[in-house]
């Protein structure tokens, strides 16, 4: 599988990253190698195995629908880069 400059630009765009021309070339090369490495997994024979998205044999991990106290807002807002004390403040969002 070949990773093109266009692929890198697309992923950078989705990730909201501005990359220079040189960076795009570099990442294209790196990602090509990473994918080639990961593709080794395709060589494993999985005939007769059930398809699964998970490594653990665990399922139905549920929680009861019981209200627990929420977090203190002041503490939450301490994690916000910018807040007015009651809400997160962000640059204007225009749709």
């Amino acid at each position: 599988m070949e990773i093109t400059k266009k692929d890198i630009e697309h992923i950078a765009n989705l990730s909201m990253l501005n990359l220079s021309e040189d960076e795009v070339d570099g990442y294209a090369k790196d990602m090509q190698e990473i994918i080639a490495f990961a593709n080794q997994i395709n060589e494993i024979n999985t005939d007769g195995l059930e398809e699964s998205a998970f490594a653990l044999d665990s399922y139905n991990v549920f929680r009861k629908d019981e209200v627990r106290e929420s977090f203190d807002r002041e503490l939450l807002m301490q994690n916000a880069p910018s807040s007015n004390g009651v809400a997160y403040q962000i640059p204007p969002v225009i749709e």
Binding site: V67, R73, A87
Partner: protein, 476 residues
């Protein structure tokens, strides 16, 4: 050229669980900004979500109620996108293994025909937070109280061909969700909202045209207006030789216009992958059957009961049962006054009208079923005429009083005193000899005119049956 409209809907319904989908924060509507939040629903690194079991139960219930198949094996997936109302920068949704697939139901249209609308899938996911414009700084404020509230997304097949069909579909779906109690479906509060996918194609063409997606419609009126606007817009583009652009659009009900939000071409790459923090869901036959056996009476069954037992017209029965609140109102008022036919007639005209005019849900009508039943009783007992009843109905809303009180205060009791009425009839007939001639010449309208004149003299309070009878005596 003639075009065919193709509409598919994605309806989001907030589930009425007590807590959010992945944490124990309350789902209560309102509340001070960011007070129903914790590290899980604000997307703090390292916080581990745990699925609320009720969310699975409610989604399965919804699936069974719309005749869908339940997937025995299901999982959740990450849908990646950047938007500031989604603190994790991904939504947890379901991609290839939703809880429910392949359902559908019949909708009834105004002309009495029915049509089946297919449901492709129902999946669970978490709601986003709310962005509020900050007039003080010109920036945007983020309130994450709603982030993590459980949603089901119900995706229809592109089976609808008009605004009427789309509205009928959402009405029916809303009714079903209300009956099974998985969502309060309050459209004004955003707990039920629809995304409308719409395209046009020349009649006879098999392939779909390019579609647009209009997001977050939260009233039936908005859905209807938006669809008619979008049909016209696409038609004009196609007729002038242009191409419809695939895009996400927003509808502004206040101005009656839709506008493009963002082009979908490159934004629509969500890179779904299995959510590693949440284990798969496996449902047993026992689990599913148990939910199935405990489903409450659904609108279809209630409708059949109204037609058979109460002899309501099919269309009326369909409208009334489409909303659980309205249907409950009907049952309670009918029981109270013993005249289901009258209650149904009032619902089909005045009650639906005032709900639409004021954009209120039937659960929030400005009078109780009991109070409304008193009005019917006043009419049925002959204390007031139907016409005066309509006036009392309006006053009942504007003044928030019992109908008996209004009738008493305003002196609206019907005049059934025959001699008093006869006096008026004599006078009116004497003053309008031409009407008698006209009536005898076959002009039936003359009767209506005379009755109207008598009513006018009696300030609308005359008993119409008596007036009619007395005038007929002259006309014989």
């Amino acid at each position: 050229m003639e075009y065919e409209v193709v509409i598919g809907l994605e309806v989001h319904a907030e589930l009425s669980t007590k807590t959010k989908i992945y944490c124990g924060c309350t789902t209560e509507f309102g509340g001070d900004p960011n007070t129903h939040c914790c590290p899980i629903c604000t997307g703090m690194p390292g916080a581990l979500p745990v699925l609320n079991e009720k969310v699975v139960e409610y989604a399965v219930k919804a699936g069974l109620a719309v005749g869908a198949q339940i997937n025995r094996n299901s999982k959740q997936d990450r849908k990646n996108y950047f938007y500031p109302d989604t603190p994790r920068a991904y939504q947890i949704s379901q991609f290839d293994l939703p809880l429910c697939i392949n359902g559908g139901f019949d909708i009834t249209l105004k002309d009495g025909t029915t049509k089946r609308i297919g449901i492709t899938r129902i999946h669970i996911e978490d709601d986003a937070g709310k962005l509020v414009h900050d007039t003080y700084t010109g920036g945007t404020l983020v309130d994450l109280n709603r982030a993590g509230v459980p949603l089901i997304e119900i995706v229809s097949e592109p089976d609808m061909r008009s605004a009427e069909e789309a509205v009928a579909y959402v009405e029916k779906l809303k009714g079903i969700l209300e009956y099974i109690g998985v969502s309060d479906c309050k459209m004004q509060e955003g707990s039920l909202r629809a995304d409308v996918n719409l395209s046009l194609r020349p009649v006879g063409q098999k392939e779909f045209g390019t579609r647009t997606e209009s997001k977050n419609l939260n009233s039936f009126r908005a859905i209807e207006h938006m669809i008619n606007f979008e049909i016209q817009r696409q038609k004009e583009i196609l007729e002038s030789g242009g191409k419809v652009i695939q895009e996400t659009r927003r509808w502004d009900e206040a101005t009656g216009e839709g506008y493009a939000m963002r082009s979908k071409e490159d934004a629509d790459d969500y890179r779904y992958f299995p959510e590693p923090d949440l284990m798969p869901i496996k449902l047993s036959d026992d689990y599913i059957n148990n939910i199935k056996e405990n489903l409450p009476e659904l609108p279809e069954r209630r409708k059949a009961r109204y037609i058979e037992e109460l002899k309501l017209p099919e269309y009326d029965a369909g409208i009334i049962t489409s909303s659980k609140a309205l249907s409950d109102f009907f049952e309670e008022a009918s029981k109270e006054c013993g005249n289901p036919k009258a209650v149904s007639n009032w619902i089909m005209t005045d009650i639906i009208r005032i709900a639409r005019e004021n954009d209120i849900d039937y659960s929030d009508l400005p009078f109780s079923a009991k109070r409304f039943a008193s009005l019917i009783k006043l009419i049925d007992s002959g204390s007031i005429s139907n016409t005066i009843g309509k006036k009392v109905f309006e006053d009942m809303i504007s003044e928030n009083k019992e109908p008996e009180e209004i009738v008493k205060e305003k002196g609206l009791l019907q005049i059934s005193d025959e001699s008093a009425i006869k006096e008026v009839v004599d006078r009116v007939v004497a003053a309008n000899p031409q009407s008698i001639v006209d009536y005898k010449a076959g002009k039936d309208r003359a009767l209506g005119f005379l009755v109207g004149q008598c009513m006018k003299e009696l300030k609308g309070k005359g008993n119409p049956q008596i007036i009619n009878r007395l005038i007929m005596e002259y006309l014989k």
